[in-house]
């Protein structure tokens, strides 16, 4: 997923995203005394990610699976683009709704390409069109084309999850259902997949129902978050910023957690902060000139870049001797992407035990420097009111 945000890049099959509405939906499983979902009403505008979040067993999966009729509601209805989802045969309906689950559900007996081609094949696409689309999708989710002929068992968990996403996107469905898609993955890979998915979503703009029980993931991924409490009752349906700033009640407040201020870091992106300008130098530059430039610099260390502007190393005072900067010297640079959320970027910076991280664009070119101070300032803005309402920007970074 190294491609940048191109406007309106839905490919040749681009279909408009669908809007989704739960209308007083109730679900009581036979044999259960109380309904799993008492009455759920939410509206998801086209092209947005709606996260269903809540403690285990509160009915998130149940709610999601009623959308593509894997589960039928006991009462109420679900409308897709204003039309009840019961109007169509379940199989037809499901072919137009992307479906991603935590266990991936990849077919072990089919190659990656065949897995991705599942729905196009059901819809009777020509082999040429399927082949072209498969290649395109693997690239879209950042998988090497050489994976096409492998079997799922030959992939890592993260790679399998990407295939799951590619497979769900195959026919560019107007609506996607994702049940804890990154739940069973190690934290570092999960963070990467989340970022890549958000970048992908900025490109394809599908309507997505995203289930998680992780509030941090909800805040990061959601345009809107539906916090559910046991019994399938909606505790609050709001944007991530609203949720953090004004939780509707004690349940939500507890669920969101005491570290709400820290969580606000998940709302901002690196690019939203004011970045500092580094002193860019190249190996072989005259040391005197560098020293001169440093005198006026915000960041007290010169940053070595390569011919394309990518960061190579930090230099400190000890490195600045002799006539010219010696090849290959300096210390490692912590690099964050301009689209990373602040929380992740900050933790990267802390992990490297440095003050500064180089911020790069999608090509890896340095566009500025993020300092730990800048993050701290964002966290606790100076002035009389220590907790200042954050701007209403949120999650996906349109």
């Amino acid at each position: 997923m190294t491609r940048t945000t191109k406007p309106d890049d839905g490919g040749p099959t681009a279909t408009p995203a669908a809007s989704l509405r739960f209308d007083a939906v109730q679900k009581r499983y036979p044999g259960n005394a109380r309904p799993t979902i008492e009455s759920l009403s939410i509206e998801v505008p086209a092209g947005e990610i709606c996260v269903l979040v809540g403690p285990s067993g509160c009915g998130k999966t149940t709610a999601m699976r009623m959308v593509n009729r894997l589960i039928e509601p006991t009462a109420g209805q679900i409308l897709i683009d204003g039309r009840p989802n019961t109007e169509r045969a379940p199989a037809d309906l499901r072919r137009e709704i992307g479906y991603v689950i935590q266990q991936t559900g990849l077919f072990p007996h089919r190659t990656i390409a065949q897995n991705v081609a599942t729905v196009p094949k059901l819809l009777g696409w020509s082999t040429d069109r399927i082949a072209a689309r498969t290649t395109e999708l693997l690239e879209l989710v950042g998988l090497d084309p050489e994976f096409a002929d492998r079997y799922p068992a030959q992939l890592s968990g993260g790679q399998r999850q990407r295939v799951g996403v590619a497979r769900a996107l195959a026919v560019d469905p107007p609506l996607m259902l994702m049940d804890e898609p990154f739940g069973a993955i190690d934290p570092i890979t999960r963070e990467r997949l989340q970022n890549e998915f958000l970048r992908l979503q900025a490109q394809v703009r599908r309507t997505i129902v995203f289930v998680t029980h992780d509030i941090d993931e909800a805040i990061k991924m959601g345009d809107r978050i539906a916090v559910m409490r046991p019994g399938g009752r909606l505790a609050q349906y709001a944007t991530p910023a609203e949720l953090l700033l004004s939780p509707a009640d004690e349940f939500v407040e507890q669920f969101v957690g005491a570290d709400r201020a820290l969580k606000r870091l998940a709302l901002g992106r690196v690019r939203d902060l004011e970045l500092e300008e580094p002193t860019r130098v190249r190996y072989g530059d005259p040391v005197a000139g560098v020293r001169e430039a440093l005198r006026r610099a915000e960041v007290p260390y010169p940053l070595v870049i390569d011919a394309d502007g990518r960061p190579l190393a930090w230099l400190d005072d000890d490195d600045l001797h002799g006539e010219r900067i010696a090849d290959g010297i300096g210390s490692e640079v912590a690099v964050v992407d301009r689209d990373d959320i602040l929380r992740d970027a900050f933790s990267d910076v802390l992990q490297h035990r440095v003050q500064y991280a180089a911020v790069t664009d999608h090509r890896g070119v340095v566009i500025g420097i993020l300092s730990a101070d800048a993050v701290a300032r964002e966290l606790a803005p100076p002035g009389p009111a220590p907790v200042q309402p954050a701007e209403a920007h949120h999650g996906t970074g349109a």
């Binding site: 894997l70 559900g105 007996h109 059901l122 079997y151 068992a153």
Partner: protein, 240 residues
């Protein structure tokens, strides 16, 4: 009782056959290479018959068990009665079954096949059910979630993934049937049981007929294994 049923089919040791130098060996009931070489073609017809008995029993047995398994896969309550019924068939001694069938179907191929088929049912049925049960639930859920119909889920996901288990059942059934088919002789259906029971004391005879049985069992086993390997390339990829 075997004497009542037994009909040697003319397969009596011809002690005079063979070169005169072999007579001593044959008279001792020993393993006589030249006797075997000279008389080998007498085993070809029983072998062909044995192959026919086995393959027909396997094809019919597989068809019935597979159909029953598909039926029971969606209607779980059927599993127990089917296992019980085929279990009873499995435990009736084959000779007893021949006797029970004689008044109904008479001597011959049909009687033998009914007995042989009934022995395969339990093995194959259980393995197909086990195979279908072992299909990862998430693959089935994803298949349904992507809009495969029930039939497509069955044929495109569940059955392919159950193939290793199905093949395992077929291999056990094949080996068992090759062995049991030697008893078809008692139902007058021929096969390698003919020469074996015609002269159990003659080592050359038992060695050739028994050896052909083992060979047939091995060949059938390898054939099923080969078919399985060709049909399930992913099982090797997983461990590679």
């Amino acid at each position: 009782m075997s004497l009542v049923l037994a009909q040697s089919g003319g397969f009596v040791r011809d002690r005079s056959a063979g070169a005169s130098g072999q007579d001593a060996c044959v008279a001792r009931d020993g393993v006589c290479p030249s006797w075997i070489a000279e008389n080998f073609d007498r085993y070809v017809e029983p072998l062909q018959r044995h192959v026919l008995l086995t393959v027909v029993a396997l094809v019919i047995g597989f068809t019935i068990s597979f159909a029953l398994a598909l039926l029971a896969h969606r209607r779980r309550w059927l599993v127990t009665p089917i296992v019980q019924l085929t279990g009873i068939l499995y435990t009736i001694p084959s000779l007893a079954l021949f006797f029970l069938l004689l008044p109904l179907t008479g001597r011959g191929f049909l009687t033998a096949e009914i007995a042989l088929v009934s022995y395969t049912l339990l093995i194959i049925f259980r393995n197909v059910i086990t195979g279908l049960d072992g299909v990862p639930a998430d693959a089935v859920d994803a298949a349904r979630g992507m809009g495969l119909t029930d039939r497509q889920v069955l044929w495109k996901v569940e059955i392919p993934l159950a193939l290793p288990e199905i093949a395992a059942g077929l291999r056990i059934a094949a080996t068992t049937t090759v062995g049991l088919a030697t008893l078809a002789f008692f139902a007058g259906a021929g096969g390698l049981g003919d020469p074996i029971y015609a002269d159990l004391t003659f080592k050359s005879n038992v060695l050739v007929a028994g050896g052909l049985c083992v060979l047939l069992a091995v060949v059938l086993d390898l054939l099923v294994l080969l078919a399985q390997r060709l049909l399930t390339p992913w099982t090797r990829a997983a461990t590679a």
